[in-house]
Each structure stands twice: as C-alpha cells, then as structure tokens.
C-alpha cells in the first residue's frame, strides 16, 4: 500500500509524498472510521483528524511496526477521541451483560461460507462495547492491550468482550443449533 521510499519522502517534509499516502490509504481509513463511529459524516471528520495526526507523527514513526498497523492504531484512536467529544464513549465502556434473547434468522448458506453483507449486518447488530472490540481486534489486528488502553478497560475485560462478540456473531450467522456453548 505505502512504500518505504514514500514514507522516507514524507519524513523529509515532502508534502506531495504525503498527498500520495493519503490517495493510497483514504478508502481504508474512511472505512475503518465508518465501522467504528457508524456515521458517514462523522467518519469523514475522524479520517481528517487521523491524517492530521499521521502528518504530525510521521517524523517520529521509526518503521519498527508496519505503516498500516500504525495507521489503523491512529484511526482507532481518533475515532475514540471523536466519540468522547460527542459523549458517545460511555456506550463503549458500559458493557451490558444482557444479550438480546431473540436471534435473527440464521444466514448460513453453508457451514464454511458466510456472505460479507450478512457478516456486516451481524456486526452492526452487536452492542457498541462488543462491536468496537471485535472490529479493532479481528478486522484491524490491534492487540487486546492496545484496545484496552484506547477504550479505558483492562486487557482481561477486552478478552472477555472479544469472546462474547465472536460467540454472538457465530450464533447470528450459523443459527440456534450452533449456539449451545455450555
């Protein structure tokens, strides 16, 4: 997606190189922001803020981590800041142990296949505290520790939420016969 040469040019202060980075990554950044905040206009604001943070932080990016991983971390962080400002952060921290009793009809086509739209719908149906964790971990590969730091809960609490989110998704996608986990 983004080459070392391009990043080196950005670190030298080459604005055109940074514009190229934005061109190559803007759809990924926007999509991640949209998944985390759930609103198109707000996702644009989050993406804008994330790029300003990337622009200011690139000088200190040493390249130990992959650029994409670093970028995903910054977008997540910008999204969490945005939700804090909009006073919607509480819904991520408050974790209701009550799950809806009713499950939507299973969308399974075959045991080994799940269509993407169904998965996206299932994700959207999760309570925010579970959705954000599973998106950060399973979609964007952040560690449980990083996620805990970003949303202000312990690493252990993140693992519990991740477990519940995967279980819930599995139940939604594969139906009631697969929901007994004893």
């Amino acid at each position: 997606m983004v080459t070392h040469e391009l990043l080196a040019a950005c670190r030298r202060g080459d604005r055109e190189a940074f514009e190229e980075v934005v061109r190559r990554t803007h759809r990924h950044v926007y999509t991640q922001a949209l998944r985390l905040v759930g609103d198109r206009l707000e996702a644009e604001d989050v993406a804008q803020e994330a790029y300003l943070r990337v622009f200011r932080g690139l000088a200190g990016f040493r390249g130990d981590a992959q650029f994409e991983t670093w970028l995903y971390r910054i977008v997540s962080n910008a999204a969490m800041s945005h939700l804090r400002k909009r006073r919607r952060f509480g819904e991520l921290v408050r974790d209701s142990l009550e799950e809806p009793r009713e499950l939507p009809s299973p969308v399974r086509v075959a045991e080994e296949a799940v269509d993407r739209d169904s998965l996206t719908e299932a994700l959207d149906s999760l309570q925010p505290s579970l959705r954000v964790v599973v998106i950060m971990k399973d979609v964007y590969g952040l560690s449980c520790r990083e996620i805990g730091d970003q949303i202000g809960v312990s690493e252990g609490a993140v693992k519990v939420r991740l477990h519940r989110a995967r279980k819930r998704l599995k139940e939604i996608l594969f139906g009631p016969e697969a929901r007994d986990e004893m």
């Binding site: 950005c10 670190r11 030298r12 202060g13 604005r15 940074f18 514009e19 934005v22 061109r23 803007h26 759809r27 990924h28 926007y30 999509t31 949209l34 198109r40 996702a43 644009e44 993406a47 804008q48 790029y51 300003l52 622009f55 200011r56 932080g57 690139l58 000088a59 200190g60 045991e111 080994e112 296949a113 799940v114 993407r116 998965l119 996206t120 994700l123 599973v134 399973d138 979609v139 964007y140 590969g141 693992k159 991740l162 477990h163 995967r166 279980k167 998704l169 599995k170 996608l173 594969f174 697969a178 007994d180 986990e181 004893m182």
Partner: protein
C-alpha cells in the same frame, strides 16, 4: 477433556493461540460436534479479517477535502530532520566554536586595549 470443557475455549482457539491447545486439540480430533463448532468460529474470525479489504466508498470530494486540510509545512518533521542530520550537527558545532573563539579573542583584545589606555593615561591622572 470433555465437550463442556472445550466449548468455552473455542472462540479463542479459533485464533490459534490457546496455550492449553494440546489437550483441547486431542478432544477436537475425536469429537465431530466440537470440531464443527470450532470450524464455525474459525469462519467468523477469517471472514472478519477479510473485511479489512472490503472498502466503503466515501462521498465525492472527500479525498480533495482531506488533502486541502493538510498543513503546508510540517514543523515537527523539519525539527526532527535538523535534530537527526549529522552534517547539520558538525556545521552547528563549527559555527558555535568559531563564535566562541571570536568572542574570546575580542574580549582579550579589548582588555589589552583598556590596559594600554590606562597605562598611557596613568601619569596624567596623578597630576
């Protein structure tokens, strides 16, 4: 291990990083129900990872708006570049050394000049 012990581990095992996987995996090798359940979890985890490349289309003009908001100069980058450029370090040390040396010479010269002035004016001052 029995099914009821293995089932709560499957959501994590699907990611392939369970510490006590050895014992659980032995059970999974012989239990088709638990093995099928693990397959469902793995499908969920794999499909979630694949979502990373499923991209939404931003509104028209989004890219241009983002680019227009990027500041013209990145001061942090410039400061970082100066701070990490060895040639600039040598130049700074050389210029600094030259300034210190020139100041020292000027002070010595001024002191010597003042002494010679005092020596020249000395006898007149006593009259």
């Amino acid at each position: 291990m029995r099914c009821e012990e293995v089932r709560p581990l499957l959501a994590e095992l699907a990611e392939g990083n369970l510490r006590e996987a050895g014992e659980a995996e032995r059970h999974l090798g012989s239990c088709t129900d638990c093995s099928a359940e693990l397959g469902r979890y793995r499908t969920v985890v794999l499909e979630l990872a694949a979502l990373r490349e499923v991209l939404a289309e931003p509104a028209p003009g989004f890219l241009e708006r983002v680019i227009s908001e990027i500041p013209e100069r990145n001061w942090r980058s410039m400061i970082h570049r100066v701070a990490s450029d060895e040639r600039l370090h040598y130049t700074a040390f050389s210029v600094g050394g030259a300034v210190v040396g020139a100041t020292a010479i000027a002070l010595l010269w001024r002191r010597a000049a003042r002494r010679s002035l005092v020596a020249a004016e000395g006898p007149q001052a006593t009259l």
